[in-house]
Amino acid sequence: MVKKMIQKEKLVEVKRKLNYEVYIAAILITIFFFVAGLAIGDYFAYQRVDDIGVYQKAISAFLTLSELKGELQANQSADYCNLSWDDVWKEKVEIGRLLTALELKLGKEDPAILEQKRIYNEVQFRTYKLVEKINENCDKKWDIILFFYTNKKSNTGGDYGLSELQGYVLDTVYERDKEGVKIFSFDINLLDKSTSELANSYNITTAPAMVINSKAYLKFMNENEIQRIFEK
């Protein structure tokens, strides 16, 4: 094949055009990744929310059974003391952690999350009542903390930043003595009838606030202060 030889040709202007197909491809692929990411993430996250619902039902059933036993055998404290309790407690702690993680994923205002938190509050309240009874009747000497926090950054009902910080402090308190400390956390903006009554009985209207071994502390407390209260 004879190769062409084009030389000393005058410089010519070129008319530009847009490569529309390239833009369409780039936009479609970008949208695909965003939509797929959202859809996959939400699908699996809502599955986990459903799982939490199942776990909570199981805990509720356990609590109902325990409460029933307590009512039927009010004077036989031994039944409380012999409850196979550890697994249920661990499950409750795990559900709390899962709910926190799912809150981050789906948002604090997500209806499914709010519904599970409402059930969780109820579970916590009933667990708290049970723990109180076990503490009284079984010579357990657990330190019990009720923690009231706010999740609203607008600081409605309390200080969001301090609530978060108090949460971290209580994580450490729990980690130091997992067997001896029982912590129950309540979002002050999501209180139901029973937990409202509980808060009112200690005059709690703002967050962060704690009830440590039946005494209310309406302020932020560091780890040392909490440990000193335990020692009393």
């Binding site: 190769k3 062409k4 030889m5 084009i6 030389q7 000393k8 040709e9 005058k10 410089l11 010519v12 202007e13 070129v14 008319k15 530009r16 055009k17 847009l18 490569n19 197909e21 390239v22 833009y23 491809a25 780039a26 936009i27 692929i29 970008t30 990744f33 965003f34 990411g37 959202l38 996959i40 993430g41 699996f44 996250a45 986990r48 795990e94 952690r97 899962l98 993680a101 799912l102 981050l104 994923k105 950054k153 930043g161 910080l165 971290y168 402090v169 994580d171 450490t172 980690e175 932020f220 560091n222 780890e223 040392n224 909490i226």
Partner: protein, 406 residues
């Protein structure tokens, strides 16, 4: 405390994906196109080498020109000494005696563009190569580049670059950067949207005669010239399979000073040719490349500022927690880990990493460069932060109207 809105992060991912998929789509389109036979060439070429205190590397540049796989009788060389204070003039004279076809001139120091223009005025071939005196060429670069001038819309041709030395961290990082930008420039060249003519570029003399020489006031005369060529509706070709090898800054201080000049010069050129931005008459360059380049510079600056802010904010939070008795615990739950993976920003971040790795392997193979994966990882983790820092520095200098010193 102020929280970075989540939409900012999504906007950054969105722009990043659009850029990546735009170029990947261009790449696929180019691959599907038929290869053009550009034909044979017989051009006379003049090399113009501006030299300012380049005595150490000048001979290497001349040697590389003399070793090119092209008819040496068609090549002339003009060296312009820009008022050097070292022994560049002596070296120049020695080289003119040693090799044929070299003429040299000495002028008062006036900057690189003025020295290049001095040489351009004295060149009388149809094609002129502007080559930094610290740059050497691969043997086949002219045989790969010159046939592109058989296309009459081509006003200039440039090539991929590689650092001369790659011993230091900062040099290796620039190697990764040059390889990546080489890939993007190749694609920009294919769609007629390449807007710059760096350390090694070949020009038609006709263009200079019609539209003037290099802008002596510009800090990035190569970008200004690239935009000028594009503004006159001509093309710039790109050679991806041969290379110009140049000296790059080998200390962080030198590097930051260079990038500050480049950033300032880029913004000044943007200002000068702002009418090309979002102008359909300039095709993909006007509608995508120029806007995204500018937005990229703003994003890099914003990421740097937000990143620094975020590090400070998290450090304060962390210290505050430690002060009230919190101690980090190493709790791990597979459930929580999976849930955190399901977060959109985590998934997009994951896709970015996969995309980055795909581009790394694609670019390495397409440009036949030996960049190491380890260097690419360091490039992403460390070097991009340095680049972002230089972006914000340039932006600040430009906004307050302070011209960086050489």
């Amino acid at each position: 405390m102020f929280q970075i809105p989540i939409w900012v992060m999504y906007a950054v991912f969105c722009i990043e994906f659009l850029i990546a998929f735009f170029f990947l789509s261009v790449f696929i389109k180019v691959k599907l196109m038929k290869k053009e036979d550009l034909g044979k060439v017989d051009y006379n070429v003049t090399f113009v080498l501006p030299a300012y205190n380049h005595s150490a590397l000048l001979e290497n540049s001349i040697k590389s020109i003399k070793s090119l796989d092209y008819q040496q009788e068609k090549i002339k060389i003009i060296i312009v000494d820009d008022g050097s204070t070292d022994d560049t003039v002596t070296v120049m004279k020695k080289l003119a005696k040693k090799y044929e076809g070299i003429s040299f001139f000495t002028k008062k120091h006036g900057g690189k563009s003025a020295a290049v223009n001095y040489g351009l005025e004295r060149a009388n071939t149809e094609l002129i190569v502007v080559l930094d005196a610290d740059t050497v060429l691969e043997k086949d670069i002219l045989t790969k580049a010159l046939p592109m001038f058989n296309n009459p819309s081509i006003a200039a041709v440039t090539s991929k670059m590689r650092p001369l030395f790659m011993n230091k961290f900062i040099e290796r990082m620039q190697y990764v950067e040059y390889t990546f930008t080489g890939f993007y420039r190749m694609l920009m060249g294919k769609i007629g949207s390449l807007p710059l003519t760096p350390a090694f570029s070949i020009f038609r003399k006709e263009f200079f005669e019609k539209h003037g020489y290099f802008d002596v006031d510009s800090m990035t005369e190569d970008f200004e010239m690239g935009l000028r060529i594009q503004s006159k509706h001509h093309d710039i070709g790109f050679v991806h399979d041969s290379c110009a090898i140049t000296e790059v800054p080998n200390t962080l201080r030198k590097f930051i000073r260079q990038r500050l000049r480049w950033g300032y010069g880029t913004l000044s050129s943007y200002k000068k040719y702002k009418w090309m931005i979002f102008n359909k008459n300039y095709g993909d360059l006007g509608m995508f490349i120029l806007p995204i380049w500018f937005i990229g510079m703003l994003i890099a600056s914003a990421i740097f500022l937000l990143g620094i802010y975020s590090i400070i904010e998290n450090s304060i939070d962390y210290i505050a927690r430690l002060l009230v008795g919190w101690r980090p615990s190493f709790y791990f739950s597979i459930d929580n880990f999976m849930i955190s993976l399901l977060n959109l920003k985590v998934m997009l971040f994951g896709i970015s990493i996969i995309l980055g790795l795909m581009l790394f392997f694609l670019i390495r193979s397409q440009l036949n460069e030996r960049i190491k994966l380890k260097d690419y990882i360091l490039f992403v983790i460390i070097y991009l932060w340095i680049l972002s820092f230089t972006s914000i520095l340039s932006l600040a200098y430009f906004l307050i109207g302070k011209k960086p010193k050489w």
